[in-house]
Amino acid sequence: MRSNRLWVLVGALASSIAVLAGCGASPSPAGAEGLTGDPLVIGVIEDTSGAASFYSQQGVRMIEYAAEQVNRGEYPAEIAALFGTNSRGVAGRPIQLVTEDDGNDPNRAVQAARKLVGAGAKAIITTSSSASTIQARVVCQEEEIPCIASANASADIVKNPNADFVFTISPNSTLIAAVYSSFFKAKGYRTVAFVADSTPSSKAVTDAYRAALEGAGMTVVAQEVIPVGSTDATAQVSRVAAAAPAVVFTTCSSAPEEGLFYKYAGDRLATTPKWGTNNLTLADETVEIAGPAINGAKAADLRSPDNKYSTEVAEGFARAQGGDSHLAWTSLTHWDAVMLLKRAFESAGTDEGPRVVQEIEGIRDFPVAHGQPGYTVSFSAENHNGASARAIVPVVFENEHTVVAKDEQMPQ
């Protein structure tokens, strides 16, 4: 009997190992046929299972697409003007990607970053959450390699300590909050209600916006939290409705909970203007849960249908993927990260991290695929966040899809 049990266990373990062995082969550089140089290895931290997976997964696919385009030397016109139409690879070297999962767990993010460095990565792009990047950037600092957190909005990422080698591309929450402050002021909103979820990052984002809006003279009349996993947000809507704010601002990190709020806010907050952070337009889940009640909600997106560069990247990506309906703005900023790295490595002429970082710090008016038409980013030694307010594109939900909110003029 006992030996039977042992054999069952041995069998189970053996089959598990067989399953494991089938996973984890690393792909060779795509689109690199004919490129002879040593591959330039770029590490990507992804989240396949945690809270960031809903934008990380598409982000990784976009980075793969961008690397392939670089290897092929095929670029939209805006960037081709910079690189030349047939500039293949990074100074003739193919980009090779290595990917590590961190499950959005900050402790694993450090290990993932080290594993990437061990695999020869000369730069790292993070697609997981801000918390994960904040932890992983320590490795970039130690190893002296550039790290680009292209999708993260936390202002703390580029704040010292350990921020010498890390860059962000998209506007961080401090910048967006400043835009909102003057924007709401101009619209005459005096009171605001915050709706967040129970994740630590949502709390941090809320605090940042709250400080900015209060600094601009607004009064916060309610700050509600929707616990992750809730099946109901009636009480939160009731409290917001009772506080009668001039505007509702949703600062969730978790998409379903944000959707839940809009679902229940549909009737009782129908006439109150509702704005969300750039998180609102990221995930389909928000709209799926809220249904038609989402219509009328507005948000600061980073993607404009009027931006030809954006459209071209999005369409190319959709073709390569066989049609992806909803492109998150985070994916556009990941494309930009790859282009930025190509530029910096080429002008540095070496793989040495400090030199490459210096080159990134020297980049001015670099055309990017996100933001309003013609939007560019600029870095400096003091400013590792290249964004400006022109990245922000106000959008409104109509028929459960976002369109540019033409009547909203946000400060530039």
């Binding site: 109901d232 009480a235 939160q236």
Partner: protein, 291 residues
């Protein structure tokens, strides 16, 4: 602050979901003596299954609901047959069973992650139709949820109180050896209650799926709220879980309205410690079951 009737309706809907989960705990514990902390896991699997097949495969919602309940029923009986029975046969320590059930919940969570993905699954309701009462939209799905849940609670209550096999569950819970001596088919009744408990949890999960983005983490959350509802209600009668579920939901909604939901976790802890301190047997009980 005036309490809106829609607040009350939501509290009842959520309370009934808690009640179904607590009822599943109740049935499972009645004959096996085990607080099955994997109950929320069944609900999570059922909810994800319902959401996935409706949204991704295009199965009609009613069919998906039935499938979800069937799968959860199977999970309940498998738990009894493959986990609890073999362990209870060898160990007298309750804590080994607790560990095994924690491992089971973890396994269900990871299995669901493999099958349905780790992103939130948003399910379509049984029907999209809704009607308007006094300016408020009420989904037909919500009404179905309330009616169906109440019906299940009442039917199970009647079964336990009046039904032949239902009354046997009582005998087994009170004294297994005596029940065996009386010729009660102990194993069969156990299997019956375990699978019924699974099915009820599955129903709760599938009905709740369109209300939120269920993720594999929802299993633990659902297990916790169901257990708390059971603790509040007690195990005295089959209707105790109903009362426990409604009381928990009303407390939660009331506390959210008064203090805001930011304090929810603290209030949960306080409520549970309070119940354990002053009425460890729950609101309804025939016997004390604390230690």
């Amino acid at each position: 602050m005036a309490i809106h009737w829609i607040d009350a309706l939501s509290a009842v809907r959520v309370g009934l979901m808690y009640a179904l989960l607590a009822l599943a705990y109740f049935l499972f514990a009645r004959t096996t003596g085990t607080i099955n902390f994997a109950i929320g896991g069944y609900a999570m699997v059922a909810g994800l299954l319902y959401g996935s097949v409706v949204t991704r495969v295009g199965v009609p919602p009613v069919l998906a609901l039935v499938a979800a309940v069937v799968v959860a029923t199977a999970l309940g009986s498998l738990t009894e047959a493959l986990v609890i029975r073999p362990i209870a046969a060898r160990h007298r320590d309750e804590f080994v069973v607790v560990l095994a059930i924690a491992a089971l919940l973890f396994v269900l969570q990871q299995l669901a992650g493999m099958l349905f993905g780790r992103r939130a699954v948003v399910a379509r309701p049984l029907t999209d139709s809704a009607f308007t009462v006094a300016g408020q939209t009420v989904g037909v799905h919500d009404v179905i949820t309330i009616v169906l849940s109440l019906a299940v609670v009442v039917l199970v209550g009647l079964w336990v109180a009046r039904g032949r096999s239902g009354r046997m569950t009582r005998a087994i819970g009170d004294n297994e050896d005596a029940a065996r001596a009386l010729g009660i088919p102990v194993q069969r009744i156990r299997m019956l209650t375990a699978s019924t408990a699974g099915g009820i949890a599955g129903l709760a999960g599938a009905l709740a799926a369109p209300q939120a983005g269920l993720t594999i983490q929802s299993g633990v959350t659902l297990s916790i709220v169901g257990f708390i509802a059971l603790v509040i209600g007690g195990t005295g009668t089959a209707y105790a879980p109903l009362v426990g579920g409604i009381v928990l939901s009303v407390l939660e909604a009331g506390a959210s309205l008064i203090f805001g939901s930011a304090s929810r976790d603290y209030l949960m802890l306080a409520a549970v410690l309070l119940v354990f301190a002053i009425r460890p047997e729950g609101l309804f009980s025939t016997r004390v079951r604390t230690t």
